[in-house]
Symmetry: C2
DNA sequence: AGTCGTTTGTCAACACCGTTGACAAACCGC
DNA sequence: GCGGTTTGTCAACGGTGTTGACAAACGACT
């Protein structure tokens, strides 16, 4: 009963996803979305409590691109690595949306799918439940967190990115050696390679640390 | 020459920092800042190109709270750990400001100070320059990234936080065991303890992985 | 002393943003 | 046909960053 709905959550989230894919996440405003849908901006509030609600669903829609199916012959470490790398890639493409996804777990379809897959692989690794949970949180914090940091630069073209990295390196190199001896000493290696390389290094180190911790227990730190 | 300046970058950044400390980072708008300074909002643009410029400086000012001086008898691992934990604590208090600090290195005074200290401790650990840079980037991505994720919840009172964690745990536990067997299995351990605990676990694992990697080289992943 | 150029703050305005409350259109069951 | 309910429209509110024209206030030069 009631007036027949011309809009629906699905129609809205579709249009919003298109808008984001074409014009970037900052284009997803109530007014532009209303224009794309041919309706008044305020009509959206009949289907979503507020724009954050909608953004959360759009964000989850983009997570559909992450493939979590296990591959034959793949170790659990390799699977976790692959899932995290893919998750990062998706988040780098939609920096603004990632903000909301990472504030709190949305527990929407695709996020649950990824969570389940990561937990599956970690359990395959032989950890006990508490270790699995701790490892999962570590991986998510690094993966999603690093994506948050890198997203801004990832939006730039590759040439601009390399130029920026080179400038930063150079800047650290020209600091006062009396005040910043260590920065000057390693300046040549800061921001070396791609952000993806740096992430994978961190990810591998974290995975290694998780494995060693599970075997030996947490090492003591004097 | 010219009309004498009533404002200055220092006066502005002082007022902005006070505003943020008292009313939160979202209170740092041009109009409220103008009101606090007794000037027109547009006067700010004589001293800063835009609000992002100003936010970056205010963000760096808050980093002054991070103590990086070496302590006697403290191992390099303990020092790195301590600096990262302090850095995280500061970022958790100013979530909005952290957004800008983490988009790209500001290379302002306090950020440089922290960078120098982390590099100092890592070099004390006996790594070669390339390893120091890689380790530094890993630590920053985890520390600042995790702070970005946790900042939203950290703004809530502790009771609300614990309630949210409990709800999430419960939600994972009530998922369909056929579709999400692993989530159901470890649900009881997800979001266990505090966000700080989870961060320290990840940080220790990462530090351990970095040390092992430097000793043995990167492990192969089948 | 008067004028010029420069710096700096003021004012009004522009173009946005999310969101709300009153209203009208369009359906269902009665 | 008459209510009740749902759904979209419209106008508006209060907020945001930012800009361009203008005026005040100085130092320097004639």
């Amino acid at each position: 009963m009631g007036r027949p709905a011309a809009l629906s959550r699905e129609l809205i989230v579709d249009a919003a996803a298109n808008l984001v894919a074409e014009h970037g996440a900052e284009a997803m405003t109530a007014r532009r979305l209303g224009e794309a849908l041919g309706c008044d901006p305020s009509a959206l509030y009949r289907h979503y409590a507020n724009m954050d609600d909608l953004q959360r669903e759009v964000g989850d829609r983009f997570l559909a691109a992450v493939h979590v199916a296990p591959r034959r012959g793949e170790s659990w470490v390799a699977a976790v690595r692959r899932i995290c790398v893919e998750l990062r890639a998706v988040q780098l493409h939609q920096p603004r949306l990632a903000v909301l996804v990472r504030a709190a777990p949305t527990r929407l379809a695709n996020e649950l799918r990824i969570t389940e897959a990561l937990l599956r692989e970690l359990r395959r690794g032989g950890f006990d439940p508490a270790q699995v949970a701790a490892a999962y949180h570590s991986l998510i914090e690094l993966t999603v967190g690093a994506a948050a940091i890198d997203a801004t630069m990832a939006a730039e073209p590759a040439a601009a990115r390399r130029r920026a990295y080179r400038e930063w390196r150079a800047h650290y190199g020209t600091l006062d050696p009396a005040e910043f001896p260590n920065a000057v000493a390693v300046a040549g290696h800061l921001y070396e390679g791609s952000a993806d390389d740096r992430f994978v290094f961190a990810l591998d180190a974290l995975l290694l640390g998780i494995r060693v911790t599970a075997q030996n227990g947490a090492p003591s730190v004097p």
